[in-house]
Symmetry: C2
């Protein structure tokens, strides 16, 4: 039974209901921990808005809301210009989600939820030691969108992955890495590969890799 | 065995290898078919760059490359101002991926891959009949990013979902809908829910919904 929702139907929804509803519609999202620092306290925040912008130079985007629980992260990124993105593993999605609680600015989410900050020799922002895929980025572009959310585009400066995850053609097997995904605001999922396809050509049957 | 990649390592990668590599790093992505029209031919393109921008007003973003196989879609969106986003079902990821082949502008990917265009009474762009979650959007903001990719932000004007998918709190169960997700450029996955968590509070154990 298919139900239609109009623009007016959406406008009339109670705020929390609408937030759950619209946040479900964009489909499955990456489950990522954003690591930042104010120079003293390492900060960690779960985000689901990472988006691929380009490979050369290597750019990733993040959408952030300035007046929500991630405001410390956003302030740290603006101050220091660097941050880390760390894939959330299916075995500790609970710890990752707990970072969405409101901790005081001088309280580290790492310690509060039981994850370990890790630092590289050249990068100020903290990585998540337990993560199998982690990247250090510097801000490349930053602007405010029409609804006053902010988009930060970062360039990857360095990254760490477990070596067996890397295929000959460059693909990184994030399922074998145990990376989780998110739907809505609070649902976490693991994945099972259906197929990996070869380059598609018109009028030619699609083949699997 | 963890391996570090520096910015220089990434710059030195062969182009196709780097494209596969960087496209894997953003984590799992939504698997979506973008429906457009030039007024005559219904066009369909697989995309994995849908990102949540906001719930009120209901906004979704899409990142597009102007000189790739999705150039017809981008041109249609700019001309007509409207488009649809349709969740890809796990049972027809092959048909969805086949839309990434280069078809002539006057050839409909719907017909070529075996999916059915569906029109609502009030919306010009074609929906995918076989999709369990489909949305019609109008362009709300459009700009060019630092690497010359384009970001289109659209406002949801209407949407269609199978009614049993909607929870009391507004969450739409996209896993029950059979929505797929993507990693890299060509790997499709189904999901299994690990947990759905209640609102997290500091110094309070996290509970499941």
């Amino acid at each position: 039974m298919t139900k239609q929702f109009t623009h007016d139907d959406i406008s009339a929804m109670p705020q929390r209901f609408r937030a759950n509803f619209i946040n479900s519609l964009s489909g499955f999202k990456s489950a990522t921990l954003l690591g930042t620092t104010d120079g003293t306290t390492p900060n960690l925040a779960v985000i689901s808005s990472v988006v691929h912008i380009g490979a050369n130079p290597p750019l990733l985007g993040v959408i952030m809301r300035p007046h929500t629980v991630t405001r410390d992260s956003l302030s740290n990124i603006k101050q220091r210009g660097v941050y880390t993105l760390n894939h959330i593993h299916v075995e500790w999605v609970d710890k990752a989600h707990q970072t969405s609680a409101r901790y005081a600015p001088d309280e580290s989410e790492f310690e509060a939820v039981g994850l370990t900050p890790q630092f590289s020799e050249t990068f100020e922002a903290p990585y998540v030691k337990e993560s199998n895929i982690k990247m250090g980025l510097s801000v490349a572009q930053h602007f405010t969108l029409l609804n006053n959310t902010e988009m930060i585009i970062g360039e990857i400066q360095e990254l760490f992955i477990s070596e067996p995850l890397l295929s000959e053609d460059g693909y990184v097997d994030i399922e074998a890495a145990g990376s989780a995904c998110i739907s809505g605001l609070d649902s976490y999922h693991k994945t099972t590969r259906l197929a990996q396809f070869a380059y598609a050509k018109a009028n030619t049957p699609l083949t699997k890799k």
